[in-house]
Symmetry: C2
Subunit: 339 residues, 2 copies
Amino acid sequence: MRLTIKEIAKRANVSITTVSRVLNQNKEGVGKETRKRVEQVIKESKYRPNAIARSMITKNTKTIGLVIPDIRNPFFSDLARAIEDKANKMQYSVLLCNVDNQLEVIEKYLWLLIEKSVDGIIFSSSDSNLNDGVQKLLKKNNIPVMFIDRGDNENIFNGVFIDNTEAGFLATTHLINLNHEKTGCITGPKSIWNSNQRLRGYYLAHEQVGLKVDRNMVKEGFYTMKGGYDAAKLLLRENKNITSIFALNDLMAFGVYQAAREQNILIPDDLSVVGFDNLSYNQILTPRLTTIEQPIKQIGGVAVEYLVKQIEQELIIEDSIYLETKLIVRDSTRAVSKD
Amino acid sequence: MRLTIKEIAKRANVSITTVSRVLNQNKEGVGKETRKRVEQVIKESKYRPNAIARSMITKNTKTIGLVIPDIRNPFFSDLARAIEDKANKMQYSVLLCNVDNQLEVIEKYLWLLIEKSVDGIIFSSSDSNLNDGVQKLLKKNNIPVMFIDRGDNENIFNGVFIDNTEAGFLATTHLINLNHEKTGCITGPKSIWNSNQRLRGYYLAHEQVGLKVDRNMVKEGFYTMKGGYDAAKLLLRENKNITSIFALNDLMAFGVYQAAREQNILIPDDLSVVGFDNLSYNQILTPRLTTIEQPIKQIGGVAVEYLVKQIEQELIIEDSIYLETKLIVRDSTRAVSKD
DNA sequence: TTGTAAGCGTTATCAG
DNA sequence: CTGATAACGCTTACAA
């Protein structure tokens, strides 16, 4: 059986209270000699306090739930890593939940997280609205939640975001400034809010300079490589005069590269491409991809930080946090000569 | 405050024991009427039992720790996903631990997992030997451990593996059969056992046909894209007559593609490339990469399955499990004409 | 079928 | 400075 505080107390010839004090308070409450003896016994016995029992009293588990669509998506693995690092630094552990954007799975997991008494939840899912029941449950159980990347429409919970519209505008304007008048756009799933925002930026950028966007120029690519590939093929087939493509995430931009290569379309000579996310693994692409950088590490870090603030200071974060994006111009975009 | 079983008992006008019975046993022990009433109250109150309190009694947490180098490595995110899926199906949650192959971090995390009383651990790290103290601790606390991908030299714990030597042999033989007599090899870190095994397969394949391997033909690529890129450049510079490269994981093969493209070396015309892992995201590569398929999903699934077996049946798995690999021939390898 | 009570391993309260 | 003792919210004998 596992060692308990009781056994340590016995071995050190003190009360369990004293052992507990040694375990928890660093300075006061225990005589120097006693402390030394207890510490010695703890070390010798390789005793570790039972966090479960501790949680019963303290009402915290030092654990946060991370709810994301799929850890295999490199955007989310980058994010998960950032979150885990920061959480770890702040003495929290991370429970991983892949929910595939499925409402039932999300709901099931949230119930589980409640049962397991996580101290807080970091949440990112396409479904912009949490199931109503779960929402109330989270509120009722007073579990702090931070959204990242993808928000809830009703702003019941706060989060860490970027200005997707602005970023979409930025990327599109970059292409327009390069004289591209026929820019296709490959979007994420229609249900995902941030994709719609980025698309909105794309439209706004065109509007601002009086450019009209053809209906055929916008295709849904589902935020996947394959989706981007398929959408690019459609785009290239239906629009002979297309000169550039704005993919609303890097994954889909990869798909565009693939489609272009298959059709012997040269990037950037024949086609300029802009992505979104600046995933670490897009280094592999030749030519290097021009893209919007999301401060993923920072997003994760800030999310944890504010979540812990809410947890420990029982503070309510009034507003969502918005972090800056940046256009990173590399080699996949080039100016076209004006007609 | 959060609802407790006591409150539910009060509301349903029964004892907490009865509520507990309704919560846990599905068929017996409670009268039909009573059960119905209690279930009704539970539902209305949106009551969820406190898993922490339950764990105190039952001595299990329905949680497993997943210790891996870095979730951003697509091999490990594929694996993590597989593990999480299977664990979830078996009613377990997954605590994520990125340890970057650093011994202190590993040790710190294992202590944490012990404190948190995880029911079992799935472990993958380059450092082939666990710290001795931790090893004993795991044994002493009787925590089941399954290794995956990377084992411990001393076979103190079992795991799910592939035959890396055989797979390395297979891949190399494929190239040799294609008349490649000058095949470079890009390895993982020297400290990683599975890389050494794959390299051994590479040597064996050459030996078998009486081919000598030049010292310059083997470079360390550290299992990273950048490492593969650097190693490929070295390989190409130092060996003018090289006709193929075997990268000991796909990530490094990506780096080889990049280096080749930069030097206008055509794959497979000028250079054949074989990878290892068959990561889902290597679809992006043109030409499609010939590689060794690791049954990642199965590895994760089996690891969880056997871990849970150990946990629930308190069964000791006698031997490690070895799963089959497969050579997937695609477009990155081509025969060279014999001199 | 139902309920009483002990106990899981801690922390917190209060007394000595 | 130290120690008894009561909680925490459940499950599980054991009793009725």
